[in-house]
């Protein structure tokens, strides 16, 4: 168990070690859905939600696995339990709050098998966070993911209007933008720890 304060955990996962720009997790949706601001927002919100659910699940699973001494089952049980829980939550959401469900829509199942989710679960296990610390870590990671996505979408909307050489268009341009964004996030490195 580490004794890092909750605020520094949040800052750490949201800005200093941003999941997308410092750990390269969740790159696929980062490039895939970051072409419009509107979808980027929703994707970010849905991902934050799934991260919270996944973090809670992972904490529980880890307790059980440690209790029975089956740590080698960690990867396989994380991915199965997390994806089925998200599916369950999706059904519940559809029943209880159709408006939220429509807003998140297709993104929920897409995010489930995203590496950011599994990465979050594995990192929090490696760091040995307690339950409340896990929750803050997950919220921070979600916020950081959403922030990166929205920033990227903003840049790409402008980029669409400018005259980019044909060779650079598409993924290469997105990668260069991401590289510059990531450089910007390096500025947060002195914030805490």
């Amino acid at each position: 168990m580490t004794d890092a304060s909750l605020w520094s955990i949040f800052l750490n996962s949201a800005l200093i070690n941003n999941f997308v720009l410092a750990y390269f997790l969740g790159i696929c949706p980062f490039f895939g859905v970051s072409s419009k601001l509107d979808t980027a927002w929703r994707m970010g919100a849905a991902a934050s939600f799934v991260m919270l659910v996944a973090s809670t699940c992972a904490y529980g699973i880890n307790l059980v696995l440690n209790a029975v001494g089956a740590e080698y089952l960690r990867i396989i049980s994380y991915i199965l339990v997390i994806s089925s829980t998200v599916q369950l939550v999706e059904m519940l959401l559809k029943k209880l709050s159709p408006a939220t469900f429509r807003a998140m829509g297709i993104f929920l199942p897409l995010i489930t098998t995203n590496c950011a989710i599994l990465g979050l679960a594995l990192f929090q296990t490696n760091k040995g966070y307690g339950f409340v610390q896990c929750l803050f870590y997950a919220v921070g990671a979600g916020a950081g993911f959403a922030l990166a996505l929205v920033l990227m979408a903003g840049v790409r909307e402008k980029l669409d209007l400018s005259n980019v050489p044909q060779l650079v268009q598409g993924t290469a341009a997105a990668l260069i933008v991401a590289g510059i964004l990531s450089m910007g996030f390096m500025g947060f490195a002195g914030l805490g720890r």
């Binding site: 089952l73 199965l80 260069i176 590289g179």
Partner: protein
């Protein structure tokens, strides 16, 4: 692909260039960028991924008639996760240092979209022999791409290759290249080069076709 008869060699070769997983299909980007800060890390990651690709491709192909269609994705994920766990423990046994350098990214091979993508798109429809060739080709293509990114980042960022000094003393290292943003930039650079070569090839083919018709 099922209609057109291709030789096993074709399945192997396509992963190297025409359908290169990293540069052309842009799959499996997370590990490609995250652990490619040195050449040795990227080689290890590439080999680990190739092993999982190979074993998962083989298993899925062998079991393709037994797995019910509705539960196929879940079954594939189970198969992949099993082999990833093996690799994780194997690397830990071989070199604890390497395991520390790669960190959670070995476990994250599970969610590498390349592996699930090949299992779903190729191995589930083809016999084991072809699935193995396909997985090998994709794996080698992936390893190669990772290696190229890693080499650039290590030479520029640390001035070394496989830990051996490459430059005389006065060399100022580009620290940015070993940091996260260097991953994006190195990858963008290779992508530009690949795009340019492909553009040249396309134009050459078009010219050849025009000459053939006139």
């Amino acid at each position: 692909m099922a209609i057109k008869q291709t030789t096993p060699t074709d399945e192997f070769v396509k992963g190297l260039w025409r359908d290169n997983p990293v540069f052309i299909q842009v799959l499996g980007m997370c590990p490609a960028l995250a652990v490619s800060n040195t050449a040795i890390n990227s080689l290890a990651m590439g080999l680990a991924t190739t092993f999982v690709l190979l074993m998962a491709g083989l298993s899925v192909s062998l079991l393709r008639n037994f797995i019910p269609k509705e539960a196929r994705i879940v079954s594939y994920i189970c198969i992949i996760a099993t082999f990833v766990t093996c690799v994780d423990y194997a690397i830990m046994a071989i070199s604890i240092e390497l395991h520390r350098a790669l960190g959670a990214f070995i476990a994250l091979i599970v969610v590498n979209c390349l592996i699930l993508g090949r299992a779903e798109a190729f191995a589930s429809k083809n016999n084991p022999g072809r699935a193995i060739m396909d997985a090998l080709g994709m794996g080698v293509g992936f390893t190669g791409a990772l290696f190229f990114i890693g080499v650039v980042r290590e030479i520029l960022g640390a001035g070394t290759l496989f830990g051996i000094e490459m430059f005389p003393d006065g060399y100022q290292t580009w620290t940015i290249m070993v940091l996260p943003s260097g991953g994006f930039l190195a990858m963008a650079g290779w992508l530009l080069l690949v795009n340019w070569i492909r553009q040249q090839q396309d134009e050459a083919e078009k010219r050849a076709a025009e000459e053939a018709t006139t």
